[in-house]
C-alpha cells in the first residue's frame, strides 16, 4: 500500500451553526508536496466544501497562512516531509475571528495597516502627483529600510503575538514594521503623520518584546527589532517635544 499521511483540520461552518471541530483526512503521502498541495488534493478529491485561502504558491502573496501544529506558517512553503510519518494539525490563524474553516477575518489588520499610512508621504502634496520628479537613493539609504520592505502582510506575526492575542487594540508587529520601513525611507516625510498612531498607548508601547513575530516571519522582516527601534525613536522625539515646552507627543 502507498504511504499515507494524516491531516487533522479544524473546521467551522457559520451556515450550519455546527461547533468548531476537528476533521481527520488520510491522504496519499507525496514527499514533494507542500501542505497547500495536500489541501488542494483534499478539496479536489475528498471534500470540496473545505475552505482556505491561497494564491501564489511561492511565499509571496501571503494568503495561505495557517496554524501548522500550533505554529503560524505559510502552507505553500511548509512541506509534508517535515512532519511525515507524524500527523499534521491545521487550524485557522490564531487571534483572528474565523469566517469559515481555515479562512479568517483580516479586517482588523487591514484597518490597522491603513492607519499607519504605509506609503510614501511628501510634505508638498504636489510631489506625490508629479511623476517627473526623481528621488534618488544611495544603496546605504535603501539598506536602512530594505529588510522591513519585504513584509508580505501574511499576518503570521499577529497570530504569533501574545500581546495582540490579549489586547486586540494593539497595533501589532507588521503594521509597526511597515511604519518603520516608510519612516526610514529617505524619500518619505510622513514620520509626524504616523507618530500619533504608532507612539500611542496601543502602538509600540503595548509590545512586551516576546519576539515570536520575528521567529515566525517567513520573509525575515524582524518586526520585533523594528518595534524596539521605533520605541527608541518615539521616546527621543517625546523628550525633545517635552523640552521644547510641548506636552510630549
Amino acid at each position: 500500500m502507498a504511504e499515507q499521511i494524516k491531516l487533522t483540520i479544524w473546521r467551522y461552518n457559520p451556515d450550519t451553526g455546527d461547533e468548531y471541530k476537528p476533521q481527520t483526512f488520510i491522504i496519499p503521502y507525496q514527499k514533494d508536496w507542500s501542505i497547500l498541495d495536500a489541501l488542494n488534493h483534499i478539496k479536489a478529491e475528498v471534500d470540496g466544501s473545505l475552505s482556505y485561502r491561497w494564491s501564489c504558491r511561492m511565499a509571496i502573496c501571503g494568503s495561505c497562512g495557517m496554524m501548522v501544529n500550533g505554529t503560524p506558517r505559510l502552507t505553500c512553503s511548509t512541506y509534508l516531509n517535515e512532519f511525515y510519518p507524524n500527523e499534521i494539525t491545521l487550524e485557522p490563524l490564531a487571534n483572528f475571528p474565523i469566517i469559515k474553516d481555515l479562512v479568517v477575518d483580516l479586517t482588523d489588520f487591514m484597518d490597522k495597516l491603513r492607519s499607519v499610512k504605509p506609503w510614501i508621504i511628501r510634505e508638498n502634496k504636489k510631489d506625490e502627483e508629479d511623476t517627473s520628479n526623481e528621488y534618488l537613493q544611495t544603496p546605504a539609504q535603501m539598506e536602512s529600510y530594505y529588510q522591513q520592505s519585504l513584509c508580505i502582510n501574511c499576518t503570521l506575526c499577529y497570530a504569533a503575538c501574545p500581546a495582540y492575542g490579549l489586547h486586540s487594540d494593539f497595533l501589532g508587529p507588521a503594521a509597526i514594521a511597515l511604519t518603520y520601513r516608510y519612516n526610514n525611507d529617505s524619500r518619505d516625510q510622513g514620520r509626524g503623520d504616523r507618530r500619533k498612531v504608532v507612539a500611542a498607548e496601543n502602538g509600540v508601547w503595548k509590545c512586551p518584546v516576546v519576539g515570536d513575530c520575528t521567529e515566525v516571519c517567513p520573509k525575515h522582516v524582524d518586526p520585533s527589532a523594528a518595534i524596539q527601534r521605533t520605541k527608541v525613536n518615539s521616546a527621543v522625539s517625546w523628550f525633545f517635544s517635552f523640552l521644547k515646552g510641548g506636552k510630549g507627543e
Partner: protein
C-alpha cells in the same frame, strides 16, 4: 482617574526608565553579586571590605552615593514596568485600572526614600 490617565500619557518616560534600569540590572548587578556575594565571602577578596566602617567610608564620596542611588532607583522602575506589563496580561479589570499608579507610584516612593536615606548618611 485623571491621574492614571496622566501617568499613562508618560509612557515614553516609563519605558526609558525601564530600559535604563534593565541595562543597569543586567550589567552592574552581576558585578555586585560576584564581588559582594561570592568573592568576598569566599575569601578571594579581603573580608574586611564588607565591614561597616570601610563601606561607610566609600559612601562619603558624592560620586559613590550617586552611583548607589542610580543602582537602586533605575532598576526599581524597570521592575515596576515589568510587573505592570505582566499583571496587565492577567486582565483583572479593577487591578489593571490602578496598576500604573501602583507600580510607578511604588517605584517613585521607594526612590524618594532612597534619596532621603542616602542624603542623611553622614
Amino acid at each position: 482617574m485623571c491621574l492614571i490617565k496622566f501617568i499613562k500619557s508618560l509612557e515614553p518616560l516609563w519605558w526609558s526608565l525601564f530600559g535604563l534600569g534593565g541595562a543597569i540590572a543586567a550589567f552592574l548587578f552581576p558585578a555586585h553579586i560576584l564581588i559582594q556575594g561570592v568573592l568576598i565571602p569566599a575569601g578571594i577578596l579581603p573580608k574586611d571590605m564588607l565591614q561597616y566602617e570601610n563601606f561607610a567610608g566609600l559612601l562619603s564620596s558624592p560620586i559613590v552615593r550617586i552611583y548607589f542611588l542610580a543602582l537602586i532607583v533605575f532598576p526599581l522602575y524597570h521592575a515596576a514596568h515589568r510587573i505592570r506589563m505582566t499583571l496587565e496580561d492577567l486582565r483583572i479589570g479593577w487591578l489593571n485600572a490602578i496598576l500604573p499608579l501602583l507600580c510607578y507610584g511604588g517605584a517613585t516612593t521607594i526612590s524618594i526614600a532612597a534619596v532621603v536615606v542616602i542624603l542623611r548618611l553622614s
